[in-house]
Assembly symmetry: C2
Homo-oligomer: 195 residues x 2
C-alpha cells in the first residue's frame, strides 16, 4: 500500500473512532458532523470525503458495534444453558457496553426503519435464547407455567427503561445496570421460578 492510501485509511479510522466517541457522549441524533470534524481535527469537508452522509457514517459504526455484540452473544449462548448464569453474563455485557446501549435505548424509536430493524434483530436473537432456556425449564417442570415471551418482555423492558433513564438514575459515573442488577435478577427469578 502506498503512502497516500495508507494515510487515507488512517483518516478514515480516525473519523470512525472520533465519531463513536461523540455518539457515545451525546447520542447519534444530537451529534453534529461539524463537531466530529472539529474533535478529530480535520476539515468539515474531509468527513464527507470518507462518508457521503451522516447516516452512512452512523450505520457503519453501528454495524461494527453490532457485529461485536453478535460475537459476544454467540459466546453467551454457547456457554449458558441455565437462566441464572445467562442473566449474569448478559447483564455483565450490558454493563460493559452501557454507554452505547443507553444511547440506543433512548434513540431507537427515532432511527430510520432499516437501522432500527437491524438493532431489534440482534436483540431478538438474545431474547430468543432466553426464551428457549425458559421453555425448556417449563417443560422439565422446573419453572412456573408462565408465558416465556411475556416474561422476557418484562425483563428487557425494565433494562431498557433503566438504560434510557440513565441520566436520572445514576449518580456520578456509576453504572445503572450495576446499580439495579441484583434487584432485577431477583424479581425476574421470582417471576419464573417455582415456590
Amino acid at each position: 500500500m502506498n503512502k497516500r492510501t495508507e494515510q487515507k485509511q488512517n483518516t478514515r479510522q480516525l473519523i470512525l473512532r472520533t465519531a463513536k466517541a461523540c455518539f457515545i457522549d451525546k447520542g447519534f441524533l444530537e451529534t453534529t458532523t461539524a463537531e466530529i470534524a472539529s474533535r478529530a481535527e480535520i476539515a468539515h469537508g474531509t468527513l464527507f470525503l470518507h462518508f457521503k452522509t451522516k447516516e452512512i457514517l452512523i450505520v457503519e459504526i453501528l454495524d461494527n458495534e453490532l457485529e461485536q455484540v453478535n460475537d459476544k452473544i454467540q459466546t453467551l449462548i454457547a456457554r449458558t444453558a441455565d437462566i441464572s448464569s445467562a442473566l449474569k453474563v448478559y447483564l455483565d455485557f450490558l454493563e460493559r457496553e452501557e454507554d452505547l446501549f443507553s444511547v440506543l435505548a433512548r434513540e431507537l424509536p427515532f432511527y430510520p426503519d432499516a437501522l432500527r430493524g437491524k438493532i431489534l434483530f440482534r436483540e431478538a436473537i438474545i431474547r430468543n435464547h432466553f426464551q428457549q432456556i425458559i421453555k425448556e425449564g417449563i417443560n422439565r417442570d422446573e419453572l412456573r407455567d408462565i408465558d416465556p415471551i411475556q416474561a422476557i418482555t418484562f425483563l428487557f423492558s425494565t433494562l431498557n427503561y433503566y438504560l434510557s433513564m440513565r441520566k436520572i438514575f445514576r449518580e456520578e459515573q456509576e453504572s445503572v445496570i450495576g446499580k439495579f442488577r441484583d434487584k432485577v435478577i431477583k424479581t425476574f427469578l421470582q417471576l419464573i421460578e417455582k415456590g
Copy 2:
C-alpha cells in the same frame, strides 16, 4: 368582556387545540411552530404573540393534560383498593389516552429537566398507589413476598416499552395497550400472586 379580549381568548384556545393535535400526530420535538400556525390558519407571528416560546406552549399544553390525568388518577385511587381492578382502570385510561402517552414515552428522555420532572412526578403518584396496594396485600399475606417497587417497575417499564414502540407493534389504528393488556395483566398477576 369586550370584543377584542374575547377574540384574543378564542385565538389562544384555537392555538392550544391545534398544537395539541399536531403534537399528538408528530410529537412535541418534531412539530414546528410554522406547522401549528398553518394548521390553525393564523400567521406564524400570531403564535408568538400568545406564547413567547415553543417550550412555553408545550408546557402549557402538558400542564393541562397532566391536570386531567391527575383528576382521573384521584378517581382511580378512590375507587380501587385491589390490584386487579386498579390495573384494569389504569390500562383503560392509558388506552384512551394512548395517542398522547406514546409520544411521552418516546420523547421523555429528550425533554428539558423541568418538564420531564413534572411528568415523572405524576407517574410517581400512580406508581405509589399501586405499590401501596401491593404492600398491603403482602402484609395481609395474600400476595407473594416480592419487592413492590421492582414489581411496579417491571409493569410500568413494559407498558412504556409497548407505548414507545407503538408504531412497530400496532397494526392499522388499533391500540397497543388493548393488544397486549390481557397478557401483561396475566403475567404481572403471576409475578405478585401466590400459587
